[in-house]
Symmetry: C2
Subunit: 427 residues, 2 copies
């Protein structure tokens, strides 16, 4: 195992939710959005896309449900992804709890939509389910954050953004409302590492949680009838109140990433989707345009709104695993990747309550397990993953549509699968 | 002149609307959607995008305002568009009314956003204004219809769709409501040529006109507060009432194209956007994915919702001008293009009231001037054009954001410009 988990009660003692048999929620078999047109009870909209089983179809059709900004790939030929197939789906290993199962079992049991495994930059496994195609864009949820983090690091490296600058000096709009001051004295580094002190709860099962106001403002969720709250991120963010001390502890809050995205756009003078195209999509030789959810002010939803093709997520991982080189050029300076790998403050991480990620830290919008292989990870709710393991020269990219948003119940199973793949590739 | 216009009073005696100086409605200079984020009074949404000057920015940013379906270009290298530059913008000619002006004057005075001229398949002019880039997708409005027409012709050619079949037998849903029967006995050919008898007024300045119900249902316009009408095309179309006799006269009605799009999807078992990708976007070697406006049932808005890059509109024209060959293959059988060129019934066309297109006919969703050069045209409101002139081996593709929807006031100026370009290329 790569993790050094303590002997905690499973899932902090929380009850494991009852889950549908994955075979019973196959979107094509259920006829979701199938038919010309689909019958009314099989139609999926922004108002019902997160309901199960709709999510199984919806997370790879988001641009059909809401406005999106293009992340342009440019006009070049896609960078090569050479095949080097291995029968990893059949590879069996001991899963947490002691059962022997295959990588294919893990993929299915975690409601996988697509799985791409790269070893030494070559494709050892590419597998899709539920009708997903290689060219389909899947909602990355919070994997988006790690892309914003890379853009922030690049802006800092270029001298456009000072990590120690207070946010109030860079985005005066965040000082401008009555409850404000929440962000004023926090630094760029503190939002980058999510240690700024802001009242913002991210509990997807609690509608009073601030994440709902965020998702309504950003257009990720359809607001309920009569909703009178903010309709854009720049209206929402200044309303947040302070909580605790800046820099004291890590608390995972998507609002930080939206402020970071705003900082990056301001610092570079470039809208986020355009910057992502210039800095990553074009140089990486992406195969498909990406698509960013967009609010009514034209702002990309950096904290959770990026949609991309699985192969392009894999290209990103391959570049990171190779120290920033891909497609014949240095795309991200190696030192920036080393800064991610070193991780953040593991003591501060403990404040987060992420019991399933004991031993992790969080740095530059990436999760860092501090394992022996020096791996780091981008993660999103409902099972979105980019696992980069430099020592094993391994990248695992996975899109899923798991019924449960939190990864509390899948974290250990996912880590075990990544470790099993790494072990299989070492033999 | 290529047209054989009679000596009608200019614009049928209608008053020419007062128009803003094009230089006063430059979207970048006005700061429309500029800023990170833009100030509230410069924000453009689905509720205000058609208001002037917002349209100048909006028609090439529609996917940021509403959901869209991708028209996938595939993974290939874009087909080559060889340059063969000519200084056509400076070319002067006699415009209607007798004034001498340049092609550049015409482009500016008609609020042009992009102009691409191909001669013998090579690019003699490519010009953009107002910040438009070659990779930007522009709303084609009713140019969309001509793409649907090509798909319908291909489905007929493949034996999947019988042009003489009554619609009621193919789409029983159109028989299913109280007011119905409107479409039941009309044939595929009659919707293809817009001679079916349906009550549907397309007057963009009259909110009681059926085009508004269509645009609300299709998601092209934001419905007003309290709107309780249909929210999808399959709910809207069966509500239309019959009017007149099927086949008696040509009447331009977008509802026909939506029924045609439905027929094509049914006949091929393929959603429209996917079919367009397979039949045209992939074989033509398009440079950018297209984007189709989509209703809440997932149906592409075939009558007016296609967004595409100017070069890709040009590639379509080049293929048609070359008898259906492009990118090293026969994409549309020559006989189908000949069927467009022969045109429809010019007597029936007179019923339409299109005084500015005297002498035209309408066939397979294309406008046919019956000029000496055998030209044919796709046209959309606010100045969208694909002019194909086979004799002159000329293609003119133009996107615009003219303040006036109807082309009544620009038709003669546009035709004169096309003729001047053809004449210039012949010298």
């Amino acid at each position: 195992m790569m993790t050094d988990d303590q002997d905690l009660p499973p899932f902090g003692g929380m009850a494991i939710p009852e889950l549908p048999d994955p075979a019973s929620v196959e979107p094509l078999a259920l006829g979701l959005m199938q038919g010309l047109p689909p019958p009314p009870d099989k139609r999926i909209t922004l108002a019902n896309y997160r309901d199960y089983p709709n999510a199984r179809w919806a997370y790879r059709h988001m641009r059909e449900l809401a406005p999106t900004l293009r992340v342009w790939r440019g006009r070049g030929t896609p960078s090569a992804l050479e095949p080097a197939p291995r029968d990893l789906l059949a590879h069996r290993y001991e899963a947490p709890g002691g059962a022997r199962q295959s990588i294919g079992d893990w993929f299915t049991q975690t409601y996988g939509d697509g799985l791409l495994v790269l070893h030494r930059g070559r494709v050892v496994l590419e597998h899709y389910a539920g009708g997903m195609q290689p060219q389909d864009l899947h909602l990355a949820w919070s994997v988006s954050k790690s892309f914003v983090g890379l853009l922030a690091q690049l802006a800092i490296e270029a001298g456009q953004l000072d990590p120690e600058a207070p946010i109030g000096a860079l985005i005066p709009e965040l000082n401008a409302t009555s409850s404000a001051g929440a962000w004023t004295a926090a630094t760029v580094r503190q939002v980058l590492d999510m240690t700024a002190g802001i009242r913002y709860r991210e509990i997807y099962t609690d509608p009073s949680s601030e994440v709902f106001g965020y998702a309504f403002a950003g257009g990720l969720f359809a607001p309920p009838a009569g909703y009178a709250g903010p309709r854009s991120l720049d209206a929402f963010l200044p309303m947040l109140a302070p909580e605790g001390e800046h820099g004291a502890g890590f608390h995972y809050k998507t609002a930080h990433t939206e402020v970071l995205a705003w900082l990056v756009a301001r610092a570079t003078g470039t809208p986020l989707a355009e910057l992502l195209s210039r800095q990553l999509w074009q140089p990486l030789g992406m195969e498909e345009d990406g698509a960013f959810g967009v609010d009514p002010a034209g702002t990309a939803v950096g904290g959770g709104g990026l949609n991309l093709a699985l192969r392009d997520l894999g290209r990103t991982g391959a570049m990171l695993a190779a120290g920033g080189r891909w497609n014949g050029r240095q795309i991200v300076p190696t030192a920036l990747i080393e800064d991610i790998r070193r991780g953040g403050d593991r003591e501060k991480f403990k404040a987060s309550g992420y019991i399933e990620r004991f031993g992790y830290s969080y740095r530059n919008q990436w999760w860092v397990p501090h394992d022996a292989d020096g791996s780091f990870e981008a993660k999103g709710i409902h099972g979105q993953h980019l696992h980069v393991n430099p020592a094993a020269e391994l990248v695992v990219a996975k899109f899923s549509s798991h019924p449960v948003s939190t990864t509390l119940f899948t974290q250990h199973a996912d880590r075990a699968a990544f470790a099993a793949i790494a072990a299989a590739l070492r033999t």
